[in-house]
């Protein structure tokens, strides 16, 4: 039996979905699923029951996303900070996660679950990986750039989220995808996560559509700026190189241009080799982890 609940949308939901799909749709939605415990209190349930409802709601939401042709979803299940909760609650969450996510492997969809995650740690880790690359002689410190850092994040295989939704009325990011959501549409909704409805999701998508053009413009502006910065950085490196290796005479424009193109091409090759090595390192880490005997 499928964990992502099968079943169609009702007629009204189908029509609304089709209307929304006539406009721009987010390709990657991130959720901060907040409000399980408040829900439990409200309904006089145990906390664990609240978390259970939360997981069920996740399954339902994934179904809606499938119907809305949203190919990728990222959720914030558990932060490093959440380890501060009682041992009982933490253990309960871990067990629930293990059960539910095992079943998820039977489905085929892109669901990224951020577990024991904080964004600052992820960014720091990306910096550490680049420093490792420098130590290994794969890249130079001057190769460090915004796009390289993005490639070193855990989320490098995914596009940045177009839409970030946080439920339960809190209006902060709580150390979630801080780098990746710098130009995402942020929607804060007051509904508690276990009470999330199809219409709440539609409302969030509508917000995304209303903001689409202006956010797109801002993103493009940022990318232009990034490209310019990379070009200037390359130029500076080339200028330095020519100064050290030149014959004292100032290089002409053509020679500078050739040197720049050559330098850029070399840098890009270096970076590709480094990223390959990084991928290999990560894959080895996981296969080593899986081959270790699992302690009960």
């Amino acid at each position: 039996m499928s964990w992502i609940k099968e079943g169609d949308l009702n007629l009204l939901e189908k029509i609304s979905a089709n209307v929304l799909k006539a406009g721009p749709m987010p390709k990657h939605v991130a959720f901060i699923m907040d409000g399980n415990r408040r829900f439990a209190r409200k309904k006089n349930m145990e906390r664990q029951e609240g978390h259970m409802q939360g997981f069920n709601k996740l399954a339902e939401t994934l179904r809606w996303c499938k119907h809305l042709n949203i190919p990728e979803v990222t959720v914030y299940a558990f932060s490093i900070e959440n380890f501060k909760r009682t041992k009982e609650e933490v253990d309960g969450l871990m067990e629930l996660a293990k059960q539910k996510f095992e079943r998820l492997l039977e489905e085929r969809c892109f669901l990224n679950v951020c577990f024991a995650y904080t964004s600052r740690y992820e960014i720091t880790n990306a910096v550490r990986e680049m420093a490792w690359g420098v130590e290994q002689g794969l890249i130079k410190a001057s190769d460090v750039s915004e796009s390289l850092l993005s490639e070193c994040l855990y989320s490098n295989n995914s596009p940045n989220p177009d839409l970030l939704i946080r439920t339960s009325g809190e209006v902060r990011l709580s150390d979630f995808l801080l780098w990746q959501t710098s130009h995402s549409c942020l929607v804060f909704q007051s509904v508690l996560w276990p009470e999330y409805s199809f219409w709440n999701l539609c409302e969030a998508i509508l917000q995304y559509q209303l903001n689409h053009k202006s956010i797109q413009k801002a993103r493009e502006l940022h990318q232009e700026h990034q490209a310019l910065q990379q070009l200037e950085a390359d130029r500076a490196c080339v200028a330095e190189h020519l100064q050290h290796h030149g014959n004292g005479k100032p290089a002409d424009a053509q020679r500078r241009q050739e040197a720049l193109l050559h330098y850029t091409a070399c840098r890009e090759d270096r970076v590709q080799d480094f990223l390959e090595a990084l991928k290999h390192k990560r894959n080895s880490f996981f296969s080593d982890l899986c081959s270790k005997p699992v302690l009960a």
């Binding site: 720091t124 910096v127 490792w132 956010i215």
Partner: protein, 271 residues
């Protein structure tokens, strides 16, 4: 069929825009109506025996006292407020007002940001405007003198008792993180440290060194765009975001409302 849905979608967006326009029109009407009622109430209650000193000084004293008491009345006041102007063609006088009000209410650090870097480019114009508003609003220069931090300055100034204004642009966001990363990688290249030494606190210290101010507790976002637009990604880990429709013609009461909403929110920090 697709065409029909396309039309319906456009209709939906139109309805939303009409609704938004109607709501903001109503809000403006309500505010001016409330304003007129208030004036009438004040006129009615005005005690003819009390000396209504027409000299500006007294009125300003009253305003300043009110602002200060408003700040003290809040359950919690942010230490650092970010003003995120997500609108085209910013109004310097309105932003200057907001800065002066924030500081009059007792907020120690105010950052001003727009994603085009307009404020950064016109740094001096903004700061002139702030000083002008300070004088106009009768805010006492010596007590509230503002410290203007522009990029890379005042590294020696560790503790500032005076309110501080900082003008930010997208360069202070991801680009700063990249620069810190480059610095770290250079020291690794020079064998001054190992990649294993790199920690969150190391990066945090580097990112704080050039800014020298605490993380923003609150960001007031002005304009219809629902995004941080690149505002200090590292520093907004626990920042509360409160949206206001526009910075143009924003009133002190609008700002105070937002601060009251901030005061009532609760941070559980993972627990």
């Amino acid at each position: 069929m697709a065409m029909l849905y396309g039309l319906l979608w456009r209709l939906l967006l139109l309805l939303v825009h009409v609704n938004t326009a109607l709501v903001s029109w109503l809000r403006v009407r309500l505010r001016s109506w409330k304003g007129r009622l208030w004036e009438r109430a004040v006129a009615l209650n005005h005690n003819p025996d009390a000396t209504a000193n027409p000299v500006t000084g007294n009125r300003d004293d009253g305003r300043r006292a009110r602002w200060l008491s408003d700040g003290k009345a809040l359950e919690k006041l942010p230490v650092h407020v970010g003003l995120l102007v997500a609108e085209e063609e910013p109004s310097y006088s309105d932003v200057a007002n907001l800065v002066v009000w924030c500081m009059a209410v007792g907020i120690s650090y105010v950052s001003v940001y727009d994603n085009h870097g307009i404020f950064r480019k016109n740094n001096s114009r903004l700061l002139e405007e702030i000083l002008r508003q300070q004088n106009l609003l009768g805010v006492d220069g010596s007590k509230y003198s503002i410290e203007f931090l522009s990029n890379g300055s005042d590294k020696h100034n560790v503790v500032s008792c005076r309110p501080t204004v900082k003008v930010l642009s997208p360069e202070d966001g991801k680009q700063s993180i990249v620069q810190a990363a480059q610095q770290i990688c250079r020291s690794v290249e020079n064998k001054e440290r190992s990649s294993k030494d790199i920690s969150v606190s190391m990066l945090d210290v580097l990112l704080r060194e050039s800014k020298n101010i605490p993380d923003p507790d609150l960001v007031l976002k002005f304009g219809p765009v629902n995004s941080t637009l690149g505002f200090l990604p590292w520093h907004i880990r626990l920042t509360e975001f409160i949206s206001l429709p526009s910075h143009r013609d924003v009133s002190y009461d609008n700002m105070l409302d937002a601060l009251q909403r901030y005061a009532s929110c609760q941070q559980r920090l993972g627990q």
